[in-house]
């Protein structure tokens, strides 16, 4: 790892100030950033640690509105009783990220700011039509995820929370790479008051995306039977040593069926 200067932010505004140092980066759980720095894939001059900011921790549920603080760990999200009640699918999804040690450190804000094309949270937030709250504005998930490791975040912008309306039904299913445990394909389906949304991670060449095919099939009938004839196009899907685009297209249909079955169970 190259040399770096560590700062522990006292507040969000303090973090915003500290971010003006050289080529500074925000540090939350560090489960991607620290390994990337160790391999010198990332070399920030300064790190601004926001993980201990109490204002950014924890889950709040008010009526149907769920708000998750940006530095809430995957472990805390997966075990939060309020979240398990309001949106069990998201708590379950958080319990599937990485391994137990990673879930104790990794955070929702870090995951979505990084926008790894195989990360789980981007699919969930896209399907839940979530809003990403920053220190400057609110961004709809549809506008937030821009491509591989790309988001709508601007220089110096800090995610403070994520909020969404609890869906009537939802579920997440993923097919893991047996070695890395990352999603080769993950599908999150959600049935809300404005209809059905389905988002796919692990498969797209441009990262997470909504599947119009799945959404159209489920629009009238949110049932596995509605996905019987589902054909997912391999266009725009990744092909790599783990799986071809065709294989991923097939997996999307399989995971979508499993997710709908789980959501209706």
């Amino acid at each position: 790892m190259y040399s770096v200067n560590y700062h522990r932010a006292a507040s969000v505004s303090d973090a915003a100030k500290l971010l003006k140092n050289g080529d500074a980066k925000l540090l939350s759980g560090g489960m991607t950033l620290i390994p990337a720095m160790k391999t010198r894939l990332a070399a920030p001059s300064d790190l601004v640690d926001v993980s201990r900011l109490k204002d950014l921790q924890g889950v709040k549920v008010s009526g149907k509105t769920v708000t998750i603080g940006a530095v809430t760990t995957h472990y805390d999200a997966s075990t939060d009783e309020k979240l398990k009640k309001a949106c069990p699918a998201l708590a379950h999804m958080a319990s599937l990220i990485g391994d137990p040690a990673v879930r104790y450190k990794g955070t929702i804000g870090g995951s979505i700011a990084n926008n790894d094309p195989a990360a789980d949270y981007p699919a969930a937030l896209l399907a839940l039509d979530a809003t990403i709250v920053t220190n400057k504005r609110e961004i709809a998930a549809d506008k937030f995820f821009k491509g591989l490791f790309e988001t709508a975040l601007k220089e110096g912008e800090i995610i403070t929370a994520v909020s969404f309306t609890a869906p009537a039904k939802a579920a997440y299913q993923k097919f893991r790479n047996p070695a890395s445990r990352y999603a080769i394909v993950g599908v999150f389906v959600a049935k809300g008051k404005d209809g059905v949304r389905a988002a796919v991670t692990g498969a797209g060449e441009d990262g997470v995306f909504r599947s119009k095919e799945i959404e159209a099939a489920l629009a009238k009938n949110f049932d596995v039977a509605a996905l019987g004839g589902l054909k997912v196009s391999a266009k725009g899907l990744m092909s790599d040593i783990h799986a071809s685009a065709d294989y991923r297209a097939n997996l999307i249909a399989v995971m979508a069926k499993r997710a709908v079955a789980a959501a209706n169970a």
């Binding site: 790892m1 560090g30 391999t39 790190l47 990485g98 391994d99 137990p100 040690a101 104790y104 450190k105």
Partner: protein, 166 residues
Amino acid sequence: MSDVSLTVNGRRVSGNAEDRTLLVHFLREHLGLTGTHVGCDTSQCGACVVHVDGRAVKSCSMLAVQASGSTIVTIEGLADGAELHPVQAAFKEHHGLQCGFCTPGMIMTATDMIARHPQGLDEATVRAELDGNICRCTGYHNIVKAILAASETMAKGAKGRAKQAA
């Protein structure tokens, strides 16, 4: 450089370290606690697992300065004098190791796992929870056996203590 102050295995320690120093290197090289191992260095193998503020995390994926102010327990802090911790005793009894390199991480993960499952563990749960710990010698058979046995011993111990208290 930053000052790093920690409570490690009940002892308050402080030192000065470069900000890029990983927690595992601080423990091993500054404090001489070499029981915590560096296996893969890519956050996959879990040989470096220690407890930071009661949570089992990978000390190779965290800076020492990030942990400053925290309470840390390493493998050296588990035994009570000459008396092994129940998880250590179970690994010995069930031969849950071969070369022993992964063992410190396995045991720190296991103690955390058992604490999170006071209702008890089954084999499938233990195997799933060992997702982040890799053993390259034996396969996992005896490790799983040891964790299940320790979980039972500790549940009985907890019941015993509750009775005494009552």
